[in-house]
């Protein structure tokens, strides 16, 4: 066979973390990172990075603009553990303390193409009202020790959070050799490699009465 079967498929993600909307806070910046399963490996690009600090816009939009570029390529043999992007947003509160303003995570889209996601962010909540008051006064808000906790399903039931704010991300997704593994991710207009066009059957002529089929 002339075409060699590939051993890995590649997933390339480019895009921007565009804007955010938050009610309180100013001078916001974020750290983003990617979390993926054991079968996945980053072969190119930054797996974690920090953004610039953005000030709220003066106009009626009241929006924070980062326009932060992301560019990363993964290789894998298995879709399980599909990469997720984790974004942790920090900012200054009313007393100029640097506090956590929100966490959010989402899977990289599984279909090639351009995707825009609006992600709601949330912050962990203090356990009691007294702790809430103390954290507001001292500026030490509850944070997750490991932000990658929000990319897992296990252990989430003990967390209490309050959702506030949203962030808009644009992804451009490209894949190489994904279909050659037999996977169909619903990419429109493309047939999987293994579903090669069927050759038309040879025409069969039935001999008419009185004729031989020689």
């Amino acid at each position: 066979m002339s075409i060699s079967s590939p051993s890995v498929f590649l997933l390339n993600v480019t895009g921007q973390i565009e804007t955010g909307r938050f009610m309180g806070g100013d001078n916001l910046y974020f750290n983003y990172s990617f979390a993926s399963g054991q079968d996945w490996e980053v072969i190119l690009g930054l797996e974690e990075c920090a953004s610039q600090s953005a000030r709220r816009s003066d106009d009626e939009r009241q929006v924070f603009v980062w326009n932060f570029p992301i560019d990363i390529t993964f290789k894998s043999t298995n879709p399980f553990g599909w990469p997720q992007i984790v974004i942790c947003i920090y900012g200054k509160d009313f007393f100029e303390n640097e506090v956590i303003m929100g966490y959010t995570a989402c899977h990289i889209p599984i279909t090639p193409g351009i995707h825009t996601r609006r992600l709601t962010t949330f912050v962990p909540e203090s356990a009691s009202t007294v702790q809430k008051l103390m954290s507001w006064l001292t500026g030490r808000r509850p944070e997750f020790v490991d932000p990658k906790l929000i990319t897992q399903g296990r252990g989430r039931e003990v967390t209490r959070v309050r959702s506030q704010g949203e962030i808009t991300v644009t992804f451009n997704v490209m894949m190489k050799d994904f279909a050659k593994f037999g996977y169909d991710c619903g990419a429109t207009g493309r047939t999987p490699y293994l579903a090669a066009p069927v050759k038309p059957p040879p025409s069969i002529t039935v001999p008419r009465e009185g004729q031989s089929d020689a």
Binding site: M23, G37, N78, P79, F80, G81, W82, Q84, T104, A105, C106, H107, P109, I110, T111, H115, L119, T120, T121, F122, E125, T129, I150, T151, Q152, G153, R154, R156, E157, T159, R160, V161, R162, S163, Q164, F181, G182, Y183, D184, C185, G186, A187, T188, P192, L194, A195
Partner: protein
């Protein structure tokens, strides 16, 4: 064996009374299905929104299933509860959705419902909480027993699901 990857999130819920809400989810499979990798049940974080009645759970789903047949296509059953400051929990709604059968990205909304009691029970629920709950989840996933229930609409749970299929075309199954 044909395989399915379910990669997505329980993003959140809307339409419920403003409270701290969380959701228990269970993946239900037919007999011919096998879980290769991933968690098949869990509980989301408890979230209360600052501004609107939309809560955000951001709970990842990553499940790898294998099957020999298309009967018993996987379904996700959800039970939404609210939690108050004293950590008492109260039922808000039940719901079930089938995993989409088509490959690609899907936004699925699960409309939930809750059982309705007598007038006295509903009045008590409005003031004190704690209305009727189902003893068995069979009433959620089985169509046969639903005729016994009187229910009222509750809010909606939102899913963003990415479905990757493998080898279904090889077996002649069109999805």
């Amino acid at each position: 064996m044909a395989e399915i990857h379910i990669i997505g999130q329980i993003t959140g819920a809307s339409g419920f009374p403003k409270a701290s809400l969380f959701c228990k989810w269970i993946l239900q499979l037919g007999g011919g299905w096998r879980v290769v990798e991933g968690l098949v049940e869990g509980q989301t974080q408890a979230d209360q929104s600052e501004v609107s009645d939309t809560v955000s759970w951001c709970h990842p789903l990553d499940i790898h299933l294998a099957t020999r047949g298309i009967q018993g296509w996987p379904r996700i059953m959800v039970q939404v509860y609210r939690q108050d400051d004293l950590s008492r929990i109260d039922l808000c709604g039940y719901g079930i959705i089938h995993i989409p059968t088509k490959a690609g990205h899907h936004t699925v909304t699960c409309h939930t419902w809750r059982p309705v009691g007598t007038f006295a029970e509903e009045l008590r629920r409005a003031f004190l909480g704690g209305g009727p709950q189902l003893l068995s989840t069979e009433f959620i996933h089985s169509a046969l027993e639903r005729y016994r229930l009187l229910t009222v609409a509750s809010g909606s749970v939102h899913f963003e699901l990415g479905i990757i299929l493998r080898n279904f075309e090889k077996y002649g199954v069109m999805c």
